[in-house]
Amino acid sequence: MLTELETTLLGVMMIIIMLGMGSSLTFKDFAIALRKPQAILVGMLCQYGLMPLTAFLLATSLGLPGPYVIGLVLMGCMPGGTTSNIFVYFSKGRLSLSILMTVCSTLMAIVMVPVTMSLYGRGVEGEWQVPPDQIITLLGVLLVPTLIGMVLRRKNANVGAVMELMGGVLGVFVIIFLIGSWVPRNWGLLMETGFPVYFASIGLGLIGFTLGYFLARNLRLSTIRARTISMETGIQNGPLAILIVAMVFTGEQQQLVLLIPILYSLFIVITSTMVMFWYRRITTREQIARDNAKIGSVREK
């Protein structure tokens, strides 16, 4: 379980992350995006359609016990993580699309997380249920820094841009912080944990990457957009899930539910890094191919 200090720190960091996320967008960006909403709709379909369903099916087919089901489903229902923006940037994807999807899914989370949670968490025993009102309260509270971030950006672009960067970096930092403080304390638990739990924690992200890509491609989005949506889908807001669990559960209960969100958060950094390098290579190759094609068209005759 998390200590009180860890929980408080996590909360503070979450507020800064949300501030940073809000700072990454202007109100105008929103209005513009809503004019051509296909990409966002696809993103939302991935985020709140594919991911919760994947989490649920994984949990059912692996026959996981109640607390793990809740942990996994909660993870699946989370909005996109702010770290995805950094990974998309490094993979030479469409940063603007990534930011937009993250912000949209976060704003919609206040409705979509309780809805998807109650849908897929129905079968679980009552004591493991996450009360919707608590999720709504927490997400509502986190909307405040998001909006403050957007206003900050408007007032002073320098402060906004610095906040944006800090938010992204902190997302990674929170996970490193957890590795440093939580993992050594729970080494025994990690050793005892069975293969299915690991499989689910790692698989959720990987399946997200794959499904996101193919769904986007099926809807005829370009490969570069599809890769962006793929990363955006696979990378969930892990710290947010951990924070929700820490707020809702206590003691032994918290320890059990927390396991999958923490494992997911640890492994997603590794898998995202690998996927990032891979996508980056593909993008570079595509760029070179396009340049060559241009030269070819010039030389023809």
């Binding site: 105008k28 513009i32 004019r35 940037y89 672009a157 396009r290 068209s297």
Partner: protein
């Protein structure tokens, strides 16, 4: 050679001046550019003079007082620390950033000569320009330090001052921006040069001057002294340095002011500078003209892709901007621009290459303010013509001559052509350069009896409005008929599915030369048949392109002017 009042016969455009434009301007009261900029700095001391905006919205600003103090210090650094003499050439090679005005005004205050240099130059071009101008020092952006290192020993340059794009930004913002450029984009090469960073140079200059201003370096300057060497003429092979004096530039500033007076309010304008300052157009129109009226200049280091201008346009209430056809066209095709067109624009100026009237129409409809076309060239500091901002403007023209400027159109024998006939445009006025540096023959060929021969073919209507038909040497001769690429390009770009087009002449056995069109599609679905149909509708037989090629893009100059010559080289292997 003196401009005499009146002579309506030969200057029908005077009728268009009306009450808005003064025909006779007094000689500029300032003896030199430093005298003018120091006055402006005193008047607008606490106002923001420059703001550089990065693509993500991060920015840094300098006030008039800061620019004045820093440029004084830089002048002292050049003269007292480096020991340069009055009249020594100092090269300036950087994209739009806060260092540019500081260094440029500093060089002028030192009584030295600015050698404006394109940072995208190849090492070969740099070597040529530094040697040709005899530059003693260079102020260069760190992005291109490796190129400088390669050729430094082959040039007369003895001192290197280095700047960063985010120079003078607030500390954390500067470090982040620099860090992103260096470690994420890997845009800043390492080098083994012995350099002084601009802030250090300013510090050393500041120590030397101990509170005094730099007036003692520039107070003796007069209109005849050289201010700038602006290189030009890449089109005819080797680049030549146009010698622009303080008088040339001060006159041209007064002429531009006279043309735009109705739309300029002292101390209140916010001007977007997306065109590079190392080009004469932005340097004189955006920077110098606007500095003297107390405007705030929003500098965009690199406007390509055009999305990089978005934050600059969103975060500041832009009242003026300048651009070329390609820039306006690109903006009009951006979603963010179309969704929220800027609301405070009073006027926009276009030049560099012919504006297509489809673009002008779309712009004016969307922005609700005039987009006025002008015409100029490096050799004329640069402004020669502008469409008047008041009243009716005739589309597809370059407008009328700026005050105190004469234009005549001549045939190949140098004789004035009949009214309405085509002829080479020749300019006479106080803004015409002193000549090309160390090239008396080229100068004599270009300036004949005080008339600057531009190489552009134009026509004049009854009201004295001029229209550029084409470059003399771009003309295509199809079976004895003259075809002007501009006309064909304009027709092509009027097609909805065409983004932009370039037309060149290629040798043909049948007709001597044939017209070839290179087109960038706006919509993928465009076919050659559609283009052919469109041409049949609007163009007579010999003008229609015989060959149509679709391309991803077209070769362009740094300011976005389409380079037909490069295109011709590329496709014809000339």
């Amino acid at each position: 050679m003196e401009y005499a009042e009146g002579d309506q016969e030969r200057r029908p455009w005077l009728g268009q001046y009306g009450d808005h434009i003064e025909e006779m301007l007094d000689a500029p009261s300032y003896d030199s550019l430093p005298a003018a900029v120091v006055d402006a700095a005193n008047e607008y001391a606490d106002q923001t003079a420059f703001t550089t905006v990065m693509p993500n919205g991060m920015y840094g600003s300098l006030t008039y007082a800061e620019v004045d103090e820093m440029s004084d210090s830089f002048a002292y650094y050049l003269r007292e620390v480096l020991g340069l003499d009055a009249g020594d050439p100092v090269a300036l090679q950087m994209p739009n950033c806060l260092s540019y005005p500081v260094a440029m005004i500093g060089i002028l205050k030192a009584g030295c000569v600015v050698v404006n240099t394109n940072p995208l130059y190849t090492t070969e071009e740099m070597e040529h320009q530094f040697n040709d101008s005899g530059a003693k020092a260079v102020v260069i952006v760190d992005l291109f330090a490796d190129k400088l290192e390669e050729i430094l020993d082959e040039t007369p340059i003895e001192h290197v001052v280095m700047v960063q794009v985010p120079e003078f930004f607030p500390p954390i913002v500067k470090q982040i921006t620099y860090g992103v450029m260096k470690y994420w984009n890997r845009a800043i090469p390492s080098h083994g040069l012995d350099v002084t960073r601009l802030p250090d140079a300013l510090k050393r200059g500041r120590e030397k001057r101990s509170g005094a201003d730099a007036a003692r370096f520039w107070s003796d300057l007069s209109h005849d002294d050289l201010a700038m060497l602006q290189y030009t003429g890449g089109t005819t092979g080797v680049a030549k340095g146009a010698m622009l004096s303080h008088g040339n530039l001060l006159w041209n500033l007064a002429q531009i002011r006279a043309m735009t007076a109705s739309h300029l309010t002292k101390g209140e304008e916010v001007v977007l500078t997306a065109l590079p300052l190392y080009h004469i157009f932005a340097c004189v129109v955006n920077f110098l003209t606007m500095y003297l009226v107390g405007a705030r200049n929003i500098l965009v280091p690199s406007p390509r892709p055009i999305q990089r201008v978005q934050r600059a346009m969103e975060n500041y209430d832009i009242t003026w901007l300048t651009g070329v056809n390609t820039l306006y066209n690109a903006l009009l095709n951006e979603e963010w621009f179309v969704a929220f067109p800027p609301e405070h624009i009073k006027a926009a100026a276009g030049g560099g290459a012919a504006m297509h009237h489809a673009v002008v129409d779309a712009w004016e409809e969307m922005v609700g303010a005039p987009l006025t076309e002008g015409y100029g060239l490096t050799e004329a500091s640069p402004a020669v013509c502008f469409q008047p901002l008041h009243g009716e403007r005739t589309r597809n023209t370059i407008g009328i001559p700026v005050p105190m400027t004469d234009i005549k159109l001549v045939d190949d024998d140098g004789e004035r052509v009949e009214e309405g006939e085509r002829g080479e445009l020749c300019v006479r006025g106080p803004q015409v350069m002193q000549g090309y540096l160390n090239r008396p023959e080229e100068t004599a060929k270009t300036i004949v009896d005080g008339w600057l021969h531009t190489g552009d073919v134009a026509v004049m209507d009854e009201q004295g409005t001029f229209k550029i038909v084409d470059r003399k040497k771009d003309m295509i001769l199809v079976s004895g008929f003259n075809v002007y690429p501009n006309e064909i390009e304009d027709v092509l770009s009027r097609h909805d599915k065409v983004h932009e087009a370039a037309v060149i002449g290629a040798p043909s056995e049948k007709s001597g030369e044939e017209v070839q069109a290179y087109i960038v599609k706006r919509e993928e679905s465009l076919t050659k048949q559609e283009v052919e149909e469109h041409c049949r509708e609007h163009l007579t037989g010999y003008k229609r392109p015989k060959k149509i090629v679709f391309r991803e893009d077209l070769p362009k100059t740094p300011i976005g002017k389409i380079l037909r010559r490069e295109l011709r080289q590329e496709v014809l292997g000339e």
